[in-house]
């Protein structure tokens, strides 16, 4: 029946399309990369798209008091319902096209949820959507590493040691959040055999991000893209550095840029350089020391995080993605 949209690959900043499908009118913070992420996703997807947004910053800040930045249709969904809403809209479009009630043409269905809406509360619905190969949809997670909208509470995407409302810093116990960040994109890629495309990107690399969104939309069936969006409010840094912060997250190995298409895994800048050993990972302390949320960390804490990262990049079955490998002697 319907086919997915064909897109031209964006080659460089100068080839980025001009039209804004997500424009001004959003009440986000200065330097908000989550809003920038919405702009990139909408820009890459183009005018024939429908966006479903879970509760979160990108719902509240985008729809307050008669304002909207969206030039394409957008609808709010419940915090845990990103996956269900996306699937429902994709099914509905397919049925209406089959019955001839609407024109048979490719329409992008995109669900945008935060780390709370996708990796925490909405996980089951997103996971369920990724098991329906006959409906074309894209779920985008903008990962700002906390429930930033409600006042920066811990989510399962919050990195080890971060200061949040739920992990206040004390003098005796400076670190109250001791869980390691969940690797949601890798979980989606590993756990959904019929999901043909999963990618991980960062707003500091906009061309890569937009190409990943386009690739995801042009592939049939459900797709998933996780995007790291530095949050000046929750991470506590000067908003002018949100681009640099994203770059440092990738260069230090706290985030990895990769894509999995039909079972083939590839890495993108700057992760590809790290994987190939052409670039050294920058010391993670350089990244952490630039953020107020890690201001309380001591020397031994930086060492601990660095050690964990060295393990993730040096010992994992697939660096930064798969923590295990087959034990020696198990395979013939």
């Amino acid at each position: 029946m319907t086919m997915t949209m064909e897109f031209e690959r964006i080659r460089g900043v100068k080839a980025a399309p001009l039209p804004e499908m997500y424009t001004s009118g959003h009440r986000t913070c200065q330097g908000c990369d989550s809003a920038l992420n919405c702009r990139y996703v909408a820009k890459a997807a183009g005018p024939r798209s429908i966006v479903l947004g879970a509760t979160g910053c990108m719902y509240v800040a985008n729809t307050s008091y008669y304002s909207t930045p969206w030039a394409i249709p957008w609808m709010h969904t419940q915090l845990g319902a990103t996956g269900s809403a996306v699937l429902g809209v994709a099914v509905s479009l397919k049925v209406q096209m089959r019955k001839g009630k609407i024109k048979n043409e490719p329409i992008n269905v995109i669900g945008i949820g935060g780390d709370g809406g996708v990796a925490d509360m909405g996980l089951s619905a997103v996971s369920a959507t990724l098991t329906w190969p006959e409906y074309d949809s894209l779920i985008v997670m903008y990962d700002n590493e906390s429930y930033a909208n409600t006042g920066v509470q811990v989510s399962c995407q919050t990195p080890y040691g971060a200061h949040t409302t739920f992990s206040p810093v004390g003098t005796v116990k400076p670190i109250m959040h001791k869980r390691w960040k969940k690797n949601t994109a890798a979980m989606m890629a590993a756990g959904h055999p019929e999901c043909r495309y999963v990618a991980s990107a960062c707003t500091a690399y906009p061309v890569d991000l937009m190409n990943k969104v386009r690739r995801a939309l042009s592939i049939s069936g459900p797709t998933f893209v996780a995007i790291l969006c530095p949050c000046p409010k929750g991470w506590d840094f000067d908003p002018r550095y949100s681009h640099e912060m994203g770059e440092m997250a990738c260069k230090s190995g706290m985030w990895a840029n990769w894509e999995m298409e039909d079972g083939k895994l590839t890495f993108q800048t700057p992760t590809s350089g790290i994987i190939k050993g052409m670039v050294q990972r920058m010391p993670v302390a350089d990244y952490l020391l630039r953020q107020g949320r890690f201001d309380h960390l001591r020397k031994e804490d930086f060492d601990h995080i660095q050690k964990q990262l060295d393990k993730i990049w040096g010992e994992w079955g697939i660096p930064a993605i798969l923590p295990f490998k087959v034990a020696e002697g198990e395979l013939a």
């Binding site: 001004s24 920038l36 008669y66």
Partner: protein, 382 residues
Amino acid sequence: MAVYAVEITNRGVYQYNLGRRISRDVVLAARKMGRVGVAFGRYSDSPERNGIPMKWFAVIAENNDELEEQMAKYYPEVVDAAIVLDDTLLKGVESWSWDGLHPVNERVKEKGVMIVVSDQSHDELLKDVHTKDLPYKLITIPGEASFSGMWIIRDDKSEARIMGALAAALPDMISPDAVQQIFKDKADQDAAARAAKQMVTRVVEPGEGNPAEPYRYELPVWQDLTEYGIAVVGMGKGGGYHGGKEGYEPTRSTTFRKHLSRTFRPMTNFDACTQTRDCWLNCPDEAYNVTPDGFFETDYGACSGCGKCAEVCPEKIIVMVPESEFEDEASVYEMWKKDKAAYKKFFDEKSAKGWFAGQLVGPHGYVRKGQYEEEIKKKGIK
């Protein structure tokens, strides 16, 4: 292709089980004739309330494909037979979660039947039943309405009698034989056969009945919700620079401008600009217009002054100048375009008070560990 639909209207809870059993009996009888069917209640009646009218449906088709096509509807639009289990329901149905008053015969199709359990005469009944544009048959089965409760059934053979009458009225849909087969009890079989003889039929001509207009109200559609801000008109898709054909200018919000977030504003040194586009692409507030000659003009109405453009510019030619230096939001691009020498003077004057990329005099907060202590020490605050 033969598709049949039956609707059963009953009093909520008192006749809940009777209505449900009849709808299932219709399907069972159809299966005896080699057809398929499905019996279901109206979703919006659930949960049922004592006394409040409610409905059950049975849909019958020749094969599964036909049945599935019918099931795509919320419930049948027209029915071959409407069964009314209590004659007081003839005044109309006002469901607890439905709009206005709906006549009991609303969905009966042309030459369809309406079966009512009642001791009243047809003329008495037609005083209540709303008029219809199509002719249909009104059938009465003498007897009182059978009321029971949520759990215990009153076994007064109403179920069998209605099934018997339905088969007699529409033998193509379910045959009397099939009805005899679904009842195992001899008393039920007799009651069904007896009802076929007891029932009284009369054709109701168009216009016959209660002429009163059933009350309705206008349901809001989604466009009406714009009034309450639940649905908001989307933004425009933008166009050429200042309405022209070249360049690009996104649509700006008329309800929220964001410019009051600003403590510093960016100023571009257009003379040194190499048009790398990074300021435009990295702006989280879509504040940059693309001019026809390929420059990037800040819209000071949309700019929140985060300073990202100054940081990402590879040429480091964007300066963040304190907002207090400016009186208005006039475009500096236009100033530059008009008089480049005057703009250079203006830019040098303003940029002396601002900061370029990489200068660690941050206006908005945390830059690195120990920064605040250093600043306080430097200023000599104790």
